[in-house]
Symmetry: D2
Subunit: 424 residues, 4 copies
């Protein structure tokens, strides 16, 4: 059903209007396989109902573009600002996050009407403001914001269906098997240390948290040529990894005890055989695929078990900066990590799964928060989160960069998150 996605990868040459159209359309396309009932569920506090994502991304354009800049614009509904603001304190009161799943209204149909109404407004606005680079930047930000929510849409849908005892599938076509996988263990790629620079530097769009570009001093280091696989992670499980505190950060150990974690999220052992929940429903565990849906705690513990470590975000970015951006992104329609190619160069750096780093999410030297509500976008989350790099099978290819900094609390598991090892 999702095979029809055909985002042009060189879309920077597209007009803003076309890009708007394309991004907005993908959100709705991703929801096509859903039943009406699926749109309203919040299966845990971190998850938002799909219709909330559809409405919230629309509210962003309405609030930051149409209300201030489109003459004569009238709000679609006076209460939608209250319902669909996520966390922008500067924009006023909002519905409590944990209660997003208690809202049967507005209905799905009304949310689609809201999207159409705002899209019409945006088309008018984009015609009017052509060449106004500040507003175009703001629209571009709104599109990247929506692309972030597209990834959340997929991970949240997976959670909503995965928590259902019926384990329904989102995709009806079979998950294509990919059997190639030549090597037994990762290879080690050698990177020289010394003074390096990281951070965003060109005129393309990037989030504020990627700037300023700045120098850093690095030790020599090695990165694994590919991601850790399910089969490798299984060795950790079978060696009693979840019962041995010596591998775990104190908070990690407390968490796996409290939450009774015994394997990555979505793994189930049924009659002695490991299965995993996927967007294709329940599938037997493929040992060659990258391990996915692990927390930072598990990534770190696995590295300890191996006597290795996770890369820092600096090490990752320096290595990634010379790697072309291609891989298993949302555009492939697979929506599931795939096996490594077996090449002896950095493989799977982009796409497949977000890679946990050992770097806390902190401001770069000289980071400045933007003024107003938009300034709440990134900076205010710089506490108690870890950086992830590289994008996943649910990320749009034109959304990712080697400088892109994703971040989640160390306990988060419902995103497509995995492990690449490092060592000195």
């Amino acid at each position: 059903m999702l095979k029809t996605i055909s985002v042009t990868q060189e879309n920077t040459c597209l007009s803003l209007c076309d890009r708007y159209q394309q991004v907005r359309q993908l959100s709705q396309q991703l929801c096509q396989p859903l039943a009406t009932e699926d749109y309203a569920i919040q299966s845990m506090p971190d998850v938002s109902p799909p219709k909330w994502h559809l409405a919230h991304t629309t509210w962003f354009f309405e609030t930051f573009l149409l209300v201030p800049y489109l003459k004569g614009y009238e709000l679609f509904h006076p209460k939608f600002g209250y319902l669909f603001n996520s966390y922008y304190e500067a924009v006023g009161e909002r519905h409590p996050r944990a209660q997003r799943g208690l809202l049967s209204r507005p209905t799905v149909a009304e949310v689609y009407q809201y999207r159409d109404y705002v899209d019409a407004g945006m088309r008018s606005l984009m015609l009017e403001i052509s060449g106004n680079s500040d507003l175009e930047s703001l629209i571009t930000l709104g599109l990247h914001h929506e692309q972030q929510h597209q990834e959340l849409l997929l991970t949240d849908i997976k959670h909503i269906l995965g928590m259902n005892p019926l384990r329904p599938a989102y995709l009806q076509n079979p998950l294509s098997a990919i059997s190639k996988f030549p090597e037994n263990r990762e290879k080690w790629l050698d990177y020289p240390g010394g003074l390096q620079a990281i951070g965003h530097q060109n005129r393309e769009f990037a989030f504020d948290n990627e700037s300023p570009r700045h120098q850093v001093y690095l030790q020599d280091y090695y990165l694994a040529s590919r991601l850790v696989t399910n089969g490798e992670y299984l060795e950790f499980i079978e060696a009693g990894g979840y019962n041995k505190p010596e591998y775990w950060l104190a908070e990690g150990w407390t968490t796996i005890q409290a939450e009774k974690w015994f394997a990555p999220f979505y793994w189930e052992k049924i009659d002695g055989v490991w299965w995993i929940m996927t967007l294709y429903g329940m599938q037997p565990l493929n040992e060659n695929e990258p391990v996915c849906h692990v927390s930072f705690y598990e990534a770190d513990a696995y590295a300890s078990f191996r006597g290795l470590r996770l890369p820092t975000e600096v090490e990752w970015e320096v290595a990634a900066s010379s790697v072309p951006i291609k891989g298993n992104f949302v555009e492939t329609g697979r929506l599931h990590p795939t096996v490594a190619s077996g090449v002896t160069r950095p493989d799977q750096m982009f796409g497949d799964v977000w890679e946990w780093t050992q770097s806390a999410y902190l401001p770069y030297p000289g980071f400045e928060v933007a003024d107003g509500a938009i300034g709440e976008y990134n900076g205010k989350f710089m506490c108690n989160q870890m950086v992830l790099r590289g994008g996943s099978c649910a990320t749009s290819i034109n959304h990712i960069r080697s400088t892109y900094r994703n971040f989640f609390p160390p306990s988060a598991r419902w995103q497509f998150t995995g492990i690449r090892l490092a060592k000195y």
Copy 2:
């Protein structure tokens, strides 16, 4: 929309099959005004999603009638037993109650298919077993069980819509105003004490908790001629009732402090004016209507404020036993309490709102629990609950009796619950 309900009140002469048809149909009729999205919401742990009620009442017939007694019956779905068992421990594992709102699947359409499938099975079974009084009793129990869930359907729908910041209406027609209300205060009806008998005694259907009929010794007592009104309860609020611990049971005081209660549930003061949420959406408070959606704590505190008390369930039943069963039931389609008629005899004893008594829900002398899962129906809840009597505007007229014992924890407010005063 609900005006088309035309349940014959003398339906005891109906065949079982007709009664089955009628009761099952009403459940679906009550859901007609819902949007698909409304069916899956659980707005608090006590509330069940409407589709859960539709499926659970169906599961009852499937589990206790079709599986054991209909030859060749095949389950509609192997997991529905897990999903739609409410609390019958003897029937096996079940989905956690507080997670009923996390289930987008089965869809509403699938739940209706489940109902059709089971109804077809039940028609076959009823033909086969005609005259088997044990099975007919069990079916009758299933129908009364479904009638209880019809009341919950309405109170849960009210809660689902009432918690939504959009405050949507379930009924689109206007709430008809009824202005008659001749008296200022309740009148007092005098009842002699002495030896009396309460409990069920004839061959009609009744729940096990209404038996055995037994003698009790009563003091002389008075009951108020009618229910306490919104206007009277407002006097309590305006006299600072929610800030004065002397009126409250210790648990009640703790509860109103912790929950920040300041008025009955569904009351909102907007710009200095009281409004209440109803199935017709937000309505201005009508001071002549009976106060509704109060907890036992509030009912008891109001009685203390008046220097009076709540009746015992014995006093209520003795008084009610000579009152004809008529009033504002679900069949009127009003679905909202209405004002008293002003007569000087027990008024509003049946219908309008359930009346809190000062009696804890306990077994009658000689009460016996039935064998098997059906025995879990009533007896196991005889702890920390208070008895309510008389039915409400959401109750079916052929479901209620003067001996009927409803019960809820003293903090429950989302049912149609109100107050009748008593004194010695």
Copy 3:
């Protein structure tokens, strides 16, 4: 150490002043075996630190007697009212109950000074008011209040020491073994039904909740001749009683699942052998002693397991009214239940363990709450509690009556609570 207690059992002939002296002294005598550190611990929210009991009972006399009635009385400390008020809303703000164990100050020595100071004031007051029966009644209430706290002192000390992994003993002398126990099962004592009266009727002191005396109508019934023993209760455990929902009230089943209860409180199975924590430290389980430290849920489940039931408080009182008040009370110094005597008449009706009844704690017909703070004594707890009768090995003999109504929530286990069976 407690052997020196020698309360005269006919102390009604004592002067008020002597009774005051005697009761106040016993509180301190009960604390003699404590280390200073034991006085300040709150091992669960229901428990109060021993020094809190010593201070709170003193605060009662200071607040309700000395402040209003002793001319020129000055408060011992301006903040003690805040610290040592238990729940009297009318007397003002108070320290949160669950935080009583966070107070190292006032020190134990200061609390004893507070007692001495108030006792001196009370001696002056008692001389002044001789013959003022209202104040004498209030003092008598204060003494009975202190006797209630003496029982709590013992059960709280038991809990404080029992939760300590070192399991220290409160009493250093050995627990005397009592081996007599002639019978295998309880005998059944037959009581005729009909109109009976219960409630307090003479001029002796009684709490307000025992009045007014009133008529009740009873079925014929049987009471067990003695309490259920540890050995009998062990049969229930060994028959899987804690794993079979059919024996349990719904709330009871939820509670034992959530709390992981598998036996009465203070029972521990060590290397396959049952031990119980006592005020003598850990002791092997004596199967002939009455089972103790069970909740109402467990008492009710045990009765279900036996196909029997608990008595109502009316049945118990009618039977107890002709039984002389003697038994294993605090004055024996044993502070632990003892085995039945084997006689064929109501045995162990008083002392040993409080007996759970199947009666919820509710007002008697015509019950009136006293004015002012004293009126908060009993009435406001009449919700979600069950009645217990007969006193325990931690009760003073001159504190108990056949009409005495103790009450606790159905989940309470840290009191000396046990089981007497009944049937029709």
Copy 4:
């Protein structure tokens, strides 16, 4: 009372045995002002009862030195390992942290006996092992461990007394007023960037988390010449800082809303005047003293309010490496921050209050965890904590270094924590 402390600051020339004696003695000296009752209180989960600190530091020597290395050593008590292990998973089960305040036993006297017993053992061991540098290092680690607990002893005692409504004083002597304070605002000290090195490098004792020394690249930066004062922080409060989300990290904003924070910890506004709880009891707020008992969230929000930022730990260490270690440490006996000296060079870098940095607590490049239980000392906490630098008025002068990395979660406020500003 604490004036008698006279730790020699050049104690590196002391023999190990003398240093052992000196450190162990200080722990007991710090407890001298306590009442017996104060030793057992745990006023919040982060706080440990003073007697627990006394016993836990002793358990460290018993477990890691005496048991493995002192021939014939017998445990003081078989259960003390269970009671006084803090978090060493490798050493076995332990008493739950949040229940440390439920233990009246062992008594304070028994804990002091335990200390004497272990001290005697340690004296024997130290004689035996003279010259064994591995064991001497382990003993030195144990002494630094005890010094850390000495700081916690003081902050926990302050919390225990500060939460008590009586607000008792720990120190009976008056808090000496220090009035000098010449400047209105901090001055800015200029530091050049470029390649720098941080981390421990000599043969003196240091914790594993301070190594390895490594190069870092820095921008040019400024540090404030002194700490932020109470008066300056008051400007933030009076400007509505606690009500303006724009100054706060998202987690900080959530925390101050949930916890209802309105000022630093221990601040109270009484009749319009600000007071603070100190170890001298309640004292009027001195606007010239450094602000203390702020969380990282508050430190960061204050910096935002000023348009400035917190230093990184690298910036702090580079600046501190040339500053002599002197200041207001525990040895002054003041136990309270004091005002700046007014000099135009880094002032208050050591002592007074720990300074929050904007650096998350993470491993240095090449950090290696030690083997065995000792390896659990630091590394396993490297998640969701922020680094603090410089020591406080509760730190021993011979415990601190410019490379010393303290760490606490961003919400911690009960330590002596304050703010130094930075900018580019």
